[in-house]
C-alpha cells in the first residue's frame, strides 16, 4: 500500500533540503552547462546525429549526478526518513524528485545547446519541423533514465565508496532506454510524422515504468539493514 501522504512528505523534504536550504539542485544544472559549453568548444557545426549524441551524453552524465545526489543523506537524515515512510514509498518519492530534476537538466541543456552549438542544420527541402515532438521525446527519455538511475543510486548508496561504482552499475542498464530514447528524439528532430513516433514513445514509457515497478518490488530487500 503506497500512501500519497508519504510521497508528499518526501517531496516536501526534498524541496526544503535541496531547493530552499542549499543550492543542491544547482549542481547538476551547472554540470550540464559546463559539459554543454565544452561540447561547443570542441565541435563546430555538428551534423544532426553528432549534435544529438552530444546532447544525450550531457543528459546521461548530468542525470547520473542528479540521481547520486538524491540518495546522498547523512545517517541521521535517513533515520528520520525511514521512520516517516515505507521503503517502496521512499523509492517512488525519490524517483519522482530525480525525474523532476532530470527534466530541469534536460530543458536547460537543450536551451544551452541551441544557444552555444546552434540548432543542427537539416536538409533544406524538409521545411519547418515542429519543436514539441522533440521536446516530448527528450522529456520522456529523461524520465526513463531517472527511473533506472534512482534504483542504482539507492544500491550504490549502500556501498562504502559507492559513488565510483554508480556509473559502472548504471550505464549498461541504461543502454536499452538510451537506444529507444535516442531513436525517438532523432525521428522527432528529423520531422518524421507522429505515427512513427508513437511506438518509440510507448517504448520510452515502458522503460520508465518497468524499472520503477521492478525497483519497487526489490527495494524492501535492498533497504532492510
Amino acid at each position: 500500500m503506497i500512501r500519497l501522504r508519504a510521497i508528499q512528505q518526501i517531496l516536501q523534504w526534498e524541496w526544503a533540503l535541496e531547493y530552499r536550504r542549499s543550492n543542491g539542485w544547482f549542481l547538476p544544472l551547472l554540470f550540464a552547462a559546463m559539459v554543454g559549453y565544452l561540447c561547443s568548444l570542441l565541435v563546430r557545426e555538428p551534423s544532426p546525429t553528432v549534435w544529438l549524441a552530444l546532447l544525450w551524453m550531457t543528459m546521461v552524465f548530468s542525470a547520473l549526478q542528479t540521481a547520486l545526489r538524491s540518495f546522498a543523506a547523512t545517517p541521521g537524515q535517513w533515520l528520520y526518513l525511514n521512520q516517516l515512510v515505507a521503503p517502496t514509498e521512499l523509492l517512488i518519492g525519490k524517483t519522482m524528485t530525480t525525474a523532476l530534476n532530470c527534466l530541469l537538466v534536460t530543458w536547460t541543456s537543450l536551451a544551452l545547446f541551441s544557444l552555444w552549438l546552434g540548432w543542427p542544420h537539416l536538409p533544406e527541402q524538409m521545411g519547418q519541423v515542429p519543436l514539441w515532438p522533440f521536446v516530448v521525446s527528450l522529456s520522456l527519455g529523461a524520465i526513463a533514465l531517472s527511473s533506472t538511475l534512482s534504483f542504482t543510486a539507492a544500491l550504490a548508496s549502500k556501498i562504502e565508496r559507492g559513488t565510483g561504482i554508480m556509473a559502472v552499475l548504471s550505464i549498461p542498464l541504461l543502454l536499452p532506454t538510451l537506444l529507444i530514447a535516442v531513436r525517438a528524439s532523432k525521428l522527432a528532430l528529423l520531422g518524421e510524422p507522429l505515427s512513427n513516433l508513437y511506438p518509440n514513445w510507448a517504448g520510452e514509457i515502458l522503460m520508465a515504468g518497468l524499472p520503477l515497478a521492478l525497483g519497487a518490488l526489490l527495494f524492501p530487500y535492498l533497504w532492510r539493514s
Binding site: 544500491l155 549502500k158 561504482i165 549498461p172 543502454l175 518497468l210 521492478l214 535492498l222 539493514s225
Partner: protein, 224 residues
C-alpha cells in the same frame, strides 16, 4: 558419476563428432560455416539457462532472510558461480560468432542488435562482479548482489529479447535471414543441434556446480 553427467559428455561428444562430419545443406555465402550452428548457438542457450539458474538462486536468497533469520549464503555462492560460468559461455559464444562473422560478413564486429545484446550482457555481469568485490561484509554482499542480479536480468531480457525484433539485422533469424525456425532448419541438422544444446547446458551446469563446491569448501576452511 551421476547419469546426467555421463549424458552431458555423450551428447557433447556426439555433437562435436557429428557436427564436423555429417552432411549439411549447401548454401551460398554460408557454405561450411553453417556448421557453426552446432557450436555457436548452444553457447547462448547455455548462457541463458545458467543466468536463469543464477536468477532463481538470487530470488531464493532474498526470500531466505526473513524475521531475523540469517541469509542462506549457499544460495549466494550458487548465484555467483552460475553467473560466472554463464559469462564463460557468453565469451565462447562471442568468439565463435566473431570467427563466423569474419568468414561471412567480412568483419569481426558490427553494430548489429545481437552483438549489442552480447556486449551489454557482458557489461552488466562485469558490473555485477565489480559490485560483489566492493562489499566486504558477506551478508550485505549477498543481498546487494542478489538485488542487482534480479534487476539487471529483467532489463537484459528486455534488451536481448525485445529490442532486436524492433530493428533490422543481418544476423540469421532476423530480417528474413534463415536460422533455426521451423521452416528453414534442415531435418538432419536438428538431429545434431538439439543434442548439442542439451549437452552443453548439462556441461555448463556441471562446471558451475563444481565451482559451488569449491567455494563451499574454501568457506569452511577459512571461518569468517
Amino acid at each position: 558419476m551421476k547419469a546426467w553427467k555421463i549424458l552431458g559428455i555423450a551428447l557433447v561428444g556426439y555433437s562435436l563428432f557429428a557436427g564436423l562430419t555429417s552432411d549439411v545443406p549447401r548454401l551460398v555465402i554460408l557454405n561450411e560455416t553453417i556448421r557453426n550452428l552446432y557450436f555457436h548457438v548452444p553457447m547462448w542457450f547455455t548462457m541463458i539457462a545458467l543466468l536463469g539458474a543464477s536468477l532463481a538462486y538470487s530470488l531464493r536468497l532474498l526470500r531466505s532472510g526473513g524475521d531475523g533469520e540469517p541469509l542462506n549464503l549457499e544460495r549466494d555462492r550458487q548465484a555467483r558461480a552460475f553467473a560466472e560460468v554463464a559469462m564463460i559461455f557468453s565469451l565462447l559464444g562471442l568468439f565463435t560468432g566473431m570467427v563466423w562473422a569474419k568468414a561471412t560478413w567480412g568483419t569481426y564486429w558490427t553494430a548489429d542488435p545481437k552483438l549489442n545484446g552480447t556486449a551489454v550482457t557482458l557489461l552488466i555481469y562485469a558490473a555485477y562482479f565489480i559490485l560483489r568485490s566492493s562489499v566486504d561484509d558477506a551478508e550485505k554482499r549477498a543481498r546487494l548482489a542478489a538485488v542487482y542480479n534480479v534487476f539487471a536480468f529483467v532489463l537484459m531480457i528486455v534488451f536481448i529479447g525485445i529490442l532486436p525484433r524492433m530493428t533490422d539485422s543481418l544476423h540469421p533469424g532476423n530480417g528474413g535471414n534463415p536460422a533455426f525456425g521451423s521452416y528453414d532448419l534442415d531435418h538432419g541438422m536438428r538431429l545434431v543441434f538439439y543434442p548439442a544444446v542439451v549437452g552443453w547446458i548439462l556441461m555448463g551446469w556441471w562446471i558451475a556446480s563444481l565451482r559451488v563446491r569449491l567455494d563451499r569448501l574454501t568457506a569452511q576452511q577459512t571461518p569468517s
